[in-house]
Symmetry: C2
Subunit: 634 residues, 2 copies
């Protein structure tokens, strides 16, 4: 086992400084190419461009009418109309040349036709209604300076000005090289241990946004010579190389050694999390960046190092990054050794922008997809307290989170259906939902961090959702918006091979549980108590997953024999289902938020027959009082 | 002559309402296509997408280390290290499967190698350092709703989730059909009367920004049958057609009739200026828009009608349009019959955002290029007074005008050189210059509408720029920043065929003049007075152009025999030059603006040897005290 267990990590700003210095000669030597103007949309002018010809290049009629020598119109006015001799004028259209002996145009609207010629009632001065040469573009004038990014209107002007080929900065060519013996293409059939290559599609899209010309290489095996040869060749053909991954310090992490053998490695290891095992190097005139394998790490390192470099080499102004201050809904513990990038969801509740941290695992790309941005925790901070201010770097193209309907609590697939329904019918009402279980949702509602808390909590009185609310809120503070009646049950493998019938069968099988605070967990515990069963008698009671689908998936994949969840999850994953109880899945809401436009809209959706039909199609649901607003308590 | 002189014009908002209603069935019927996910960057989801497989799809190691049955680690702590039996663990790398009987991973950093096996000092719980199945993506979970615009991170997630082909809204296909017998391609050699086709390049770029798939047709002659046949065929093959131009009411304006013969015309003529002669029609299921020929009209109609339609049909959210309130530096007269679009340049002077109107001709595309946006004057307004508030619709991708160095006054090519120099060395200092002549510049400075007024005004005492300043300002209010000494002279055709020697020769030739208020005009008038010559004795005295280059261009194009201007303009246009006088071209500046960062930077540029060398290379210039700040008066 030859591992270099610890990478020496470098502070991210220091790493940027080191790498910029190391690449100074490359950054200072612009590459220029001559291209046809018609292909130059969005390209950057490398040398000042002057007009090659005037537009118009002859004096021309500014409107339809007749051209005439202005002197011949003198004296005409409303009291003394003048009839022009047909020999003195010529009928013309807009854009026609106005040449000697003519020097003015009378517009068609001012021409009255008579038998003797055209009658006018207004004298004209020379050059009236005539566009002089160069009215638009004058030959020799400066059109665009260096570093100007060419817009559509600029291209049309360049074509009119006779500049059909121009000098622009060369478009950066980026090589993306995926590596790893265990890595396979997405279209291959994955076997146990295979990892599907998906990072390159992230890189490619981000590089295209930075206007790079991208080539994605076939996946390389972890073979040192193969990697060296590929890098060597690519350094000749490309302006920037990204190699993914092998940038860690594991047994088969050859990347750093390979770059070193051909050029130089300036930084190996960043003091950021996720994103630590990155490499900043160079082979001859080509920057080479080693990107970590976990997708979130990859996203952060590519965003922080590759994207700015592509903009810089393309001579484009850096893409604007937006930041927003928010209040964290959770305590975030952070290491003093790293700057941390915490994915968060944002929402505006009661005039505060709240940031709900999402999963922190470097492998959870969906948390980036679902996030509005990264909360940044400084390297020298131990973290952020709940309700403390945190700076969030917004994702490019993030939606308007101030309009979001923030839901925190238990998850049900009807939320997905509602989200899709809104996206289709009123995209301005975007649902931002975090799944922390029913109790977690109520705590968030208590702290005014969400508009709605979806809950399904069985009370000691056998009634759903009332008791839990009354424990935390005054009766006039909150209401329940009725959601759906749904069937909870035991999910088992297709055909139910272990013949599981009820809760009593659990001690003899492998169970998979939901996390503490989840309504489904509360239901299980309630049932165990009722039946006087000991939770420790159940194998896997401590194995917690956080959604119905994850439980169903664990059963389908044979990680467990049985779990509790809703019918729709069983249906989706092809599990068998043993009905246990019907429960009420409702939405707790503060009274003052009932007037929020997105809450009003959501209530409409709950009552919408089209929406209800889509949910019912999932199976295991029943709408009873959906969308009705109930007060709580006595 | 068969002209329909007057188009019935429709209010623009009313026209949008009419057209939206007329296209309602098209807009309500989305076209969907299935494409490979890897090509779906920026495309819009047409049907909700659920995950096809989990990621990871087996429990996998979250880090490098060993996998073990967690039970076998129980009891280990710092005081009681535990040595693991080599038969109980397997060395693994990140991403490797963790399967029965193993259920935990001990990370490499926590493994101490000994002769008897690995020693650990910490107990592990089941599933520690193991990524559960579906940690990132759970099979069956909703990934993206309808109408979601796919970002790079989304594509990577879809690939990981096994969604290799997806349903997206079909990309709109736009046909751009340029028409006109007098219209020629930009690469052809233009003859008198020819008009170079450049609008299609504007349309194409704007349509590409709206993610349309664009086909530009060859130019069609003004032939009714040809136009009808082309439209008929294009209506089958494309989703939207833009035909340019022939949309006016001139003799050869067939567009409206052609559309009518195949489909319907809903609006012909808009109550906007420029942009009046537009056509909104439809052939079968294809919207057809007739766009006026003048480029500014074309830009406005395309922006107002085609771009929003393309976004709508592509199911993309409309591009954000920014507006800003500004103070108009000029009175803008407007017609009650039209909503007017006035191109303006913006700048921030003394905490006010000032808008300087540019040329209003519908043919002056450079005024759009040079503008920051359009000031919008309502249809029912007679215009805007000087210093009145006006709403400006900003151009997409406009630069940060709050940073601009606003220069209003006389133009010299050294300003172009300075602009290019700044773009190269400090692009944050952008020069926004308007050319209104020296006097116009001083009036703007008086009204605090610019930072610098470039002037060259000969005083009655024979000294430049002092007298004019003292007439308008107190001596301690403004300073002169010394610019350049430049040679003024007479520009004549190459070889001087009319043997022009001096001002005295002007009465026998065709002269072309500069506008009132221009320093060069002041110089001519001064010389005429000195020599007791009568301006009316000079043919073309009333023929005014507004830049040195425009004068040189008129002479090169034989519109005139002689004009006054600077050597560099003569040089650029290949004219001969007869030296008349050397003058001082300086920059008037308010004392309080001397601290403005862009003014400070500009003074540095004036003194910069590299900059001076570039200006001197133009010829006819001499730097004397460039960049020195002089007080005025006694």
């Amino acid at each position: 086992m030859t591992r270099h267990l610890y990478l020496k990590t470098t502070d991210i700003d220091e790493a940027k400084r080191i790498y910029n210095n190391a690449l100074a000669d490359i950054l200072k030597t612009p590459k220029i190419e001559t291209i046809p103007t018609q292909q130059a949309y969005g390209r950057v002018v490398a040398k000042a461009i002057y007009a090659k010809r005037s537009s118009p290049f002859y004096p021309s009629a500014a409107m339809d009418g007749i051209m005439i020598d202005a002197k011949k119109t003198q004296g005409a006015n409303e009291h003394h109309p003048l009839i022009l001799d047909p020999l003195d004028y010529v009928e013309i259209d807009t854009g026609d040349p106005v040449l000697d002996p003519y020097d003015a145009v009378i517009m068609a609207e001012d021409c009255i036709k008579t038998d003797y010629g055209i009658q006018i009632i207004k004298a004209h001065v020379p050059w009236e209604n005539v566009r002089p040469i160069g009215e638009d573009i004058v030959e020799g004038e400066l059109l665009f300076t260096v570093n100007h990014v060419l817009r559509p209107m600029d291209i049309s002007v360049l074509m009119a000005a006779g500049q059909l080929e121009i000098n622009v900065f060369k478009q950066v060519r980026l090589a993306i090289i995926p590596t790893g013996t265990e890595i396979i293409e997405a279209h291959a059939h994955p076997q146990l241990g295979d990892i599907i290559e998906s990072n390159s599609y992230l890189f490619k899209g981000m590089a295209l946004e930075a206007k790079a010309d991208v080539e994605r290489f076939p996946i390389l095996k972890d073979d040192y010579d193969l990697i060296v040869n590929t890098l060597d060749k690519a350094a000749d053909d490309f302006d920037v190389i990204c190699i993914n991954a092998g940038s860690s310090a594991g047994r088969e992490d050859f990347t750093s050694k390979a770059i070193q053998s051909l050029g130089e490695v300036y930084v190996h290891g960043l003091a950021i999390k996720p994103g630590k095992p990155a490499i900043l190097g160079r082979i001859r005139s080509t920057p080479v960046i080693g990107i970590p394998g976990f997708p979130v790490s990859a996203h952060i390192v590519f965003s922080e190092f590759v994207v700015p470099l592509l903009y810089q080499l393309n001579h484009l102004p850096q893409a604007k990054v937006d930041y927003v201050d928010a209040i964290s809904t959770k305590r975030i513990v952070s290491s003093l050794k790293y700057k941390e990038y915490i994915r968060v969801k944002l929402g505006q509740v009661n005039d505060r922008i709240v940031a709900s941290p999402l999963a922190r695992g470097a492998g959870v790309m969906m948390s980036v997809v679902r996030s509005d941005g990264y909360a940044l925790i400084d390297q020298n901070s131990e973290g952020i307290e709940m309700n403390e201010k945190v700076v969030v770097r917004l994702n490019p193209g993030h939606h308007d989170f101030k309009q979001s309907l923030v839901m925190i609590g238990s998850h049900d697939m009807m939320i997905d259906v509602a989200q899709d329904f809104l996206a289709q019918h009123s995209p301005e009402h975007f649902i931002s939902s975090s799944h922390v279980g029913s109790f977690g949702g109520l705590m968030a509602l208590k702290r005014k961090e969400c508009h709605l808390a979806p809950i399904h909590l069985l009370g000691s009185d056998g009634i759903y959702n009332q008791e839990a609310l009354l424990q935390l809120f005054k009766a006039d503070e909150v209401v329940l918006i009725k959601g759906i009646q749904r069937i909870q049950g035991l999910l088992v493998a297709k055909g139910n091979p272990l013949n599981i019938k009820s809760i009593e069968d659990l001690p003899r099988v492998h169970y998979v549980n939901r996390q503490r605070g989840a309504g489904t967990r509360v239901l299980l515990d309630h049932l165990l108590k009722e039946k006087k069963m000991d939770p420790t008698s159940i194998k896997g009671y401590e194995h917690e997953l956080s959604t119905h689908l994850a439980v169903a998936s664990a059963i389908q994949n044979k990680s467990a024999d049985c779990g509790m969840g809703v019918y729709s999850a069983a249906q989706t994953m092809g599990c068998d289902f043993i009905e246990i109880a019907e429960e009420a899945y409702d939405f707790a809401c503060r009274v003052e938020d009932l007037n929020h436009p997105s809450v009003i809209r959501f209530i409409q959706v709950l009552k919408d027959p089209e929406f209800q039909a889509s949910v019912l199609a999932l199976g295991g649901y029943r709408f009873d009082q959906a969308g009705e607003v109930k007060t709580i308590g006595r």
